[in-house]
């Protein structure tokens, strides 16, 4: 129930943006803006789908953890001494 509401909210907002903002962008030939909007809306739809249908999407925080994982031992020594 909780996640369904979230899904409905995101979908409704996406629809509203698609109807009101996107056609204007195409009419004024603002193609970079169009693609940025499409990617952002698509990703938010994907995330809201993942909440309802219970599949996992890659989390950007995990990407950061993965990039800095070679430094983990160093940071452990520096900051987790407690």
């Amino acid at each position: 129930m909780k996640n369904t509401l979230f899904f409905l909210f995101v979908t409704a907002t996406t629809l509203i943006i698609c109807v009101t903002v996107i056609p204007n962008l195409l009419k004024k030939r603002l193609y970079p803006e169009f693609w940025v909007s499409i990617v952002a809306l698509g990703l938010s739809l994907l995330i809201s789908f993942s909440k309802v249908f219970d599949f996992s999407v890659p989390n950007p925080s995990d990407l950061i953890l993965w990039i800095y994982s070679p430094l983990k031992g160093l940071i452990q020594g520096l900051l987790k001494q407690g």
Binding site: N24, N59, P60, S61, I75
Partner: protein, 367 residues
């Protein structure tokens, strides 16, 4: 976007708000966990070398009076490497603009409204954020002056009211394990309050009215913000002791719970939350604005205002998945956030500085 619209006073409040908002409620437990009763010394150390750091930033950016940070990166590092760093920088801005709503939602759903789903709080906050960014930099900078005054007043009021509960014994023994633990804890504080100010290079000095006097205001604003976060950490340890401080998620809020003067003057801990959310909003709008304007620069968007609405929806969705839980978040702060912000906030400007001097030596004139 390149209008000269920010006055020096507004730069002061943006810098101070940026420095308070990131740190005041969140960093005290981590610092107390590392340095125990000496965490306040760490806050002082962070304040001192933070001021030097801000001075370094102003030195770097005053060499390029008409460029923002993304343009500086691309001029100094070339097209491909520069663009790669820009993408990383945009990633930081978008990621952090989604983290801050998560903190606000987490605070409210933990402390105040446990039955409300977090995305309700997030949605209201992000709607305000989208409105703030779409009004533009000038309107927002003016608002930040009021936010800073109100936030500082409420915070200092709370801190004065909690003073009668202080126990000086909580500070002793001073420097029990030497100077090393406070030094380590100062790294945590600066990764929340100092290095995040790299974001202000998007508007300093290219959008400033009088760039010559602006650097002083920048440093002053940072020192005011650092003073506020020092006070919050100092009083948390003085009143609660390091043990409770390190175990509570939002130490300054727990601290304000202690306010009880007479019978009438109790349960006013929410003034700390008010001051926090006002300054937090300043940081968040700065980050979102910086993300959008660097995206606009990188992809050559003509009307960047058009992408605010889709990106805000994306932030709302991102805030829902970004931290699966509190333990993940505490772990992420130490192993992800600290090295991430040090790379972009400290290492990148230092590299830019070195590249600038090498280029200047080789060509023998201004780059």
């Amino acid at each position: 976007m390149n209008k000269k619209i920010i006055t020096n006073k507004q730069l002061f409040s943006l810098a101070a708000g940026g420095s308070i908002g990131g740190s005041v409620l969140v960093s005290a437990p981590l610092m107390a966990g590392i340095a125990k009763q000496d965490a306040w010394i760490g806050a002082l150390i962070a304040l001192i070398y933070g001021a030097c750091y801000i001075f370094m930033l102003t030195c770097l950016s005053s060499q390029f009076p008409n460029m923002n940070f993304v343009e500086i990166i691309q001029t100094l590092l070339g097209k491909w490497l520069g663009s790669a760093f820009c993408v990383y920088y945009i990633f930081l801005c978008i990621l952090l603009s989604a983290h801050i709503p998560w903190y606000v939602g987490d605070f409210l759903t933990t402390m105040v409204m446990p039955e409300t789903p977090q995305y309700f709080v997030n949605a209201i906050y992000i709607i305000a954020l989208a409105i703030g960014v779409s009004y533009g930099l000038e309107a927002f900078a003016r608002a930040s002056e009021i936010f800073l005054k109100a936030g500082s007043f409420l915070f200092i009021l709370a801190m004065v009211l909690v003073l009668p509960n202080a126990h000086i014994g909580n500070l002793q023994p001073i420097l029990e394990n030497g100077i090393l633990p406070p030094l380590k804890s100062s790294v945590v504080l600066s990764s929340f309050s100092t290095f995040t100010l790299i974001i202000l290079l998007m508007i300093y000095p290219s959008n400033i009215n009088e760039p010559k006097k602006a650097s002083k205001e920048f440093v002053k604003g940072y020192i005011w913000g650092g003073f506020i976060s020092f006070t919050s950490i100092f009083l948390s340890i003085l009143v609660l002791g390091w043990n409770i401080t390190s175990k509570s998620r939002y130490a300054a809020y727990i601290l304000a719970n202690e306010i009880e003067i007479g019978v009438i003057f109790a349960r006013i801990e929410f003034i700390v939350f008010a001051s926090w959310i006002l300054t937090q909003f300043v940081v968040n709008v700065l980050y979102f604005y910086a993300g959008i304007s660097s995206l606009a620069h990188l992809l050559k968007l003509k009307q960047s205002g058009k992408v605010i609405l889709p990106l805000s929806l994306f932030l709302l969705a991102l805030a829902e998945i970004i931290f699966p839980g509190n333990i993940y978040q505490e772990n992420w702060i130490v192993f992800g956030w600290v090295p991430f912000i040090i790379t972009l906030g400290l290492v990148l400007p230092l590299c830019l500085f070195i590249v600038y001097w090498i280029k200047r030596l080789v060509s023998g004139k201004q780059v």
